[in-house]
């Protein structure tokens, strides 16, 4: 936690006070957070920050910040990670991963190097594979079911600070 606070402080030394006993209400804007070296290269950085921020717009208070790294730490259990992964991949925050979310994910993953047909093909494939209840999009149950079987989800879905 101390290290985290150090990092948090270091991002905006003039805004963040060193001592939190008086509970100041300080938030950092998204721009600062996504420029952290740990997140800088991540294609989903905006989504990560957004889904952890309390107001949904990407500014993080220190509590949210700690929250983020505790979920992304190695110690966090699979279910918790799955919940937040779901949130991260759910771009339009409608509690379902639908086709447009998938397309966005894919574009971010490949830097838009696939053609449109390939993208639609992959999206259809994903939905066909993972959609258990046949509603054409992935609810959290579908997502959790799928992710719980993925071999390297735990090893890849964490950030070290």
């Amino acid at each position: 936690v101390y290290r985290l606070h150090g990092r948090y402080h270091e991002m905006a030394p003039n805004v963040v006070p060193m001592d939190y006993t008086r509970d100041p209400d300080v938030k950092l804007p998204m721009q600062l957070i996504i420029n952290m070296p740990e997140l800088k290269e991540n294609p989903f950085k905006e989504r990560i920050v957004e889904s952890f921020s309390e107001d949904g717009e990407g500014s993080l208070s220190f509590n949210d910040f700690v929250d983020m790294f505790s979920v992304l730490s190695e110690m966090a259990p699979r279910e918790l990670k799955a919940i937040y992964a779901f949130k991260i991949y759910d771009f339009n925050t409608d509690n379902f991963i639908c086709k447009s979310d998938l397309e966005k994910t894919l574009n971010k993953l490949t830097r838009e190097e696939l053609t449109a047909e390939e993208i639609t093909l992959v999206c259809e494939k994903v939905i066909e594979e993972a959609d258990m209840d046949g509603d054409g999009k992935l609810g959290f149950a579908d997502f959790e079911n799928m992710i719980s079987k993925a071999p390297d989800f735990l090893s890849t879905f964490h950030i070290r600070i």
């Binding site: 509970d23 509590n63 490949t110 994903v126 993972a130 509603d135 609810g139 959290f140 799928m146």
Partner: protein, 864 residues
């Protein structure tokens, strides 16, 4: 559940505020300054009642509020109780609680404790977590004391305090332990730059280091140190002295570098040890210890490798290897969140793209396979070429080793001639793998399979080289054995003559005037073999380091600094930066370890050299990777291939066990050096120990056990047991596969069922669509009838036909505009539906449906 819901409803904001304020007053003594702010923020958050939170969270919240509600109730009760009892006596108000209340309280405290411990796993906001945690802690603190009654209270509190201290200590200790794991930070750093697959190599390296450290401890503690401390000192015996002819040059660096001279006659090699049965005042049985350590090195390594293999296998089977979710996994888990380096990120992007393309191609081409003959031909050709390469390299090594034997007989040969074998082997190891890679390009395998083939081939190359080397050495050894016989006779004669003279003098006890350096001695083939292995290891280390230095570091420097004044982009173009070649490095490590295992029996110091090597290579390679490498473009998973490496290690361990076992069992040890000198075979040391040091009946039992009549049935029994276990495992596997299939079927069935439902849904929806506009248009009824006629056809289709309909039809519930068109091959009367649409393009779509973002499940059912 019901209760929860009730609570949820009942818990409106007003009562919450009430309770919160009450609680505040209760917990004032425990609450710090932050508390107020937290409480406030919590209320703020609850006031929002966040629409973005998903279902589970709200459920949790419900549970929480439920708990809180109970707690509040209880507090009220307690409050009342307190107020009533306080009239009688204030001191005994804890005891005045009735039994069941106490039990309830206990339960609640337990519950709270559980909550505290599982807090970390709840998907709540940090603010909420903090506040709930504080509350729970305060609650526990407050009522824990109440549980212990009267007199026991202090003790109880003390106990609790100790428990807390203990927990804290344990946590500190855990931290300490993680800090003690060697190179953890270094590996993590590499991992964060290069992703987990490169880190897996370093973890493997670390594991190897651990194993070698244990072996080193074993050999050093049980063989070398006793020998140095308690054995006869240097120069006291012929075998511990440098011969007269070599004494002038024995300290020269070039001689020492070849492990001749003083090093050859040191405790690092087999020949130095004496065949005295016990040494020193401890009566330490050194030959016995030497033998047992040699065996236990193999035993321990086997055990460790197999154990870690089993653990890996457990993990991999626990993960499940069904390939139902190829695309989904690629989509959601391919990004390694650890990556923090732009170059790595670029590579990762590229690799993800290619992997997607690959799997798309796989998907498209899974059924069609063209020109199979050409491919087959090419593959056969490639294999033939590779076998040629392997044979050629094997022959080359054999040839070189033979030549080196003739060189060794000649005097004053140059540096190259002396080190020819090592140089040739290292060069082969350097140039053959790229050659194989180019040949493998002919084969056109899937990259992952190709990688396995490649690894297997390189491994075969190394192994072949090692074994030809061994065979050539065997030849050498046989020659030396013949030579030895001659020398033995000479020595006996000289010694005999010497004894005769001393007996003639009448003083048998006087030390022989013959200097130990002058005694003629045999070639001591064990030491020779040991020296060969040590040399090979050292040259391997040097070649590896030089390759890293030149191939990676110099290249990286060149690319980086010359890039400013060069005609093309060096970083992106031809030389670029070196990739970190995981597979090659791992194979090198495995091969090296094989040599260590083989050689450690003849050169106990070899393990020490290897420990040093691993230690330095850890730092050196870490530095090289961080400074001058870019990650491999083709990423392959660490988790899967780990066991592959372990399998290779096991294989090489077994193969290196073979020659050692052969020499132990069936070659006579040299007569004048080493701990087993004077015996016919090395294993006789055990028989000797048993006969001399154990009581008689043990020897008898041992002789019975060693009887072939008993050994053969035992082996048979073992084979039978293996066969049985194998059969059982197979049966389990089959059952597993069956279950998996069943599950798959069930899933499919469920899907189909749903799909059928869904396939009816579009029909209904179409009808609905048609119905609503039909108020206005005249042409609709007819088409409605059409639809109605069609609908039975649509509901009936069997699974195969229904599935595509559903796949395409299901988006209809979510994506509105585009999904309106059903697939043409099911709906025969497609055109009319399409024809209907144009007249109402701008109209808001079905009116009966809610426009909310959750149109999904069970929408069709209630509609009709």
């Amino acid at each position: 559940k019901d209760k929860e819901d009730d609570e949820n409803k009942e818990d409106d904001s007003c009562s919450q505020q009430n309770r919160a304020s009450k609680r505040k007053s209760y917990q004032r003594k425990n609450s710090d300054r932050k508390k107020a702010g937290e409480e406030g923020s919590r209320q703020r958050e609850r006031g929002k009642k966040t629409p973005t939170k998903d279902q589970k969270e709200s459920e949790n919240k419900g549970r929480k509020t439920n708990k809180k509600g109970k707690e509040g109730e209880n507090k009220q009760k307690k409050d009342r109780k307190n107020s009533t009892t306080s009239a009688f006596s204030h001191s005994s108000d804890e005891e005045s609680l009735s039994e069941e209340e106490l039990a309830m309280l206990m339960e609640q405290v337990e519950q709270k404790k559980k909550l505290i411990s599982t807090m970390r796993n709840k998907p709540w906001r940090m603010v909420k977590k903090l506040s709930v945690l504080r509350e729970a802690q305060a609650f526990v603190e407050k009522f824990e004391g109440a549980l212990g009654k009267g007199k026991g209270k202090k003790l109880y509190a003390y106990k609790m305090m100790m428990a807390k201290k203990w927990v804290k200590f344990k946590r500190d200790f855990d931290n300490f332990k993680t800090q003690c794991i060697p190179w953890e930070m270094k590996i993590k750093e590499v991992e964060s730059h290069f992703g987990s697959s490169v880190a897996s190599y370093f973890i493997f390296l670390r594991w190897m280091y651990g194993v070698n450290l244990v072996l080193f401890g074993l050999i050093f503690g049980l063989v070398i140190i006793p020998e140095v401390l308690m054995g006869m000192p240097y120069g006291s015996m012929p075998r511990k002295t440098v011969p007269r002819a070599e004494q002038e040059t024995a300290m020269d660096f070039s001689v020492l570098w070849d492990f001749e001279g003083y090093i050859k006659y040191s405790a690092l090699f087999y020949g130095y040890y004496n065949n005295q049965r016990t040494i020193g005042w401890l009566k330490y049985r050194l030959p016995m210890a030497y033998f047992m350590v040699g065996i236990s090195v193999f035993g321990y390594s086997l055990m460790v490798v197999i154990r870690s293999m089993a653990r890996n296998a457990n993990e991999s089977t626990a993960d499940g290897d069904d390939d139902n979710f190829i695309f989904s996994w690629k989509m959601f888990t391919s990004w390694d969140y650890l990556i923090g380096n732009p170059e790595t990120a670029d590579n990762k992007f590229a690799s993800i793209t290619t992997s997607f393309k690959e799997s798309i191609v796989d998907e498209q081409e899974s059924n069609k396979d063209e020109n199979i003959h050409l491919r087959r031909f090419l593959r056969v050709l490639a294999n033939v070429l590779i076998i040629c390469c392997l044979c050629g390299s094997g022959y080359l090594i054999y040839f070189v080793v033979k030549r080196s034997q003739t060189f060794s007989k000649m005097q004053n040969v140059g540096w190259y001639e002396r080190n020819e074998v090592e140089i040739v082997m290292s060069l082969l190891g350097m140039f053959c793998p790229p050659l194989f890679e180019t040949i493998a390009a002919l084969e056109n395998y899937h990259p992952r399979i190709g990688l396995k083939w490649q690894l297997g081939r390189i491994f075969a190359l190394f192994l072949g080289n090692l074994y030809t080397f061994l065979l050539a050495l065997m030849d050498d050894v046989n020659e030396k054995l013949a030579e030895e016989d001659v020398v033995k006779n000479i020595t006996r004669w000289t010694l005999l003559g010497h004894y005769n003279s001393s007996v003639g003098n009448g003083s048998a006890a006087t030390p022989p005037p013959l200097d130990p350096a002058d005694v003629p001695r045999g070639p001591c083939w064990e030491t020779t073999v040991g020296i060969e292995f040590v040399r090979l290891t050292v040259s391997d280390i040097l070649v590896t380091y030089i390759t890293i230095l030149v191939g990676d570091f110099i290249r990286a420097c060149f690319v980086r600094f010359v890039n400013y004044c060069w005609c093309w982009d060096l970083e992106a173009g031809f030389p670029s930066y070196a990739e970190f070649d995981i597979s090659g490095n791992v194979l090198g490590l495995v091969f090296n370890q094989g040599m260590i295992w083989m050689g450690s029996f003849y050169a106990p110091g070899l393990v020490g050299i290897n420990v040093l090597r691993l230690l330095t290579s850890m730092y050196f390679q870490c530095w090289a990777v961080m400074s001058s490498n870019v990650p491999h473009e083709r990423v392959f998973k660490a988790s899967k291939s780990n066991n592959f490496y372990m399998g290779l290690l096991l294989l090489i361990l077994f193969l290196s066990l073979l020659p050692v076992a052969y020499t132990i069992m069936s070659l006579p040890p040299s007569f004048d050096c080493g701990p087993f000198s004077g015996k016919k075979r090395m294993y006789e040391v055990i028989q000797e120990t048993i006969e001399l040091d154990f009581p008689l009946f043990v020897a008898k039992i041992f002789s019975y056990v060693a009887n072939p009549g008993l050994i053969i049935p035992a082996i048979l029994l073992m084979i039978l047991a293996i066969y049985y276990l194998n059969a059982v495992a197979e049966a389990y596997q089959r059952a597993n596969a069956e279950l998996k299939k069943k599950m798959q079927m069930q899933r499919e069935e469920e899907k189909n069922k749903r799909n059928n439902k869904a396939s009816t849904n579009p029909v209904l929806q179409d009808l609905e669509d048609l119905l609503t506009p039909s108020m206005k248009s005249e042409s609709q009824p007819k088409q409605r009838e059409d639809k109605k006629i069609e609908s039975p056809n649509k509901i009936s289709p069997d699974g195969k036909q229904g599935k595509p309909a559903a796949v395409d039809g299901s988006p209809m519930t979510s994506g509105r505009g585009a999904a309106f068109t059903p697939p043409p091959h099911v709906f025969v009367t497609q055109p009319p539906t399409l024809g209907v649409r144009p007249p109402y393009p701008g109209q808001p779509r079905p009116r009966g449906h809610p426009m909310g973002p959750v149109p999904g499940r069970g929408r069709g059912q209630p509609g009709y």
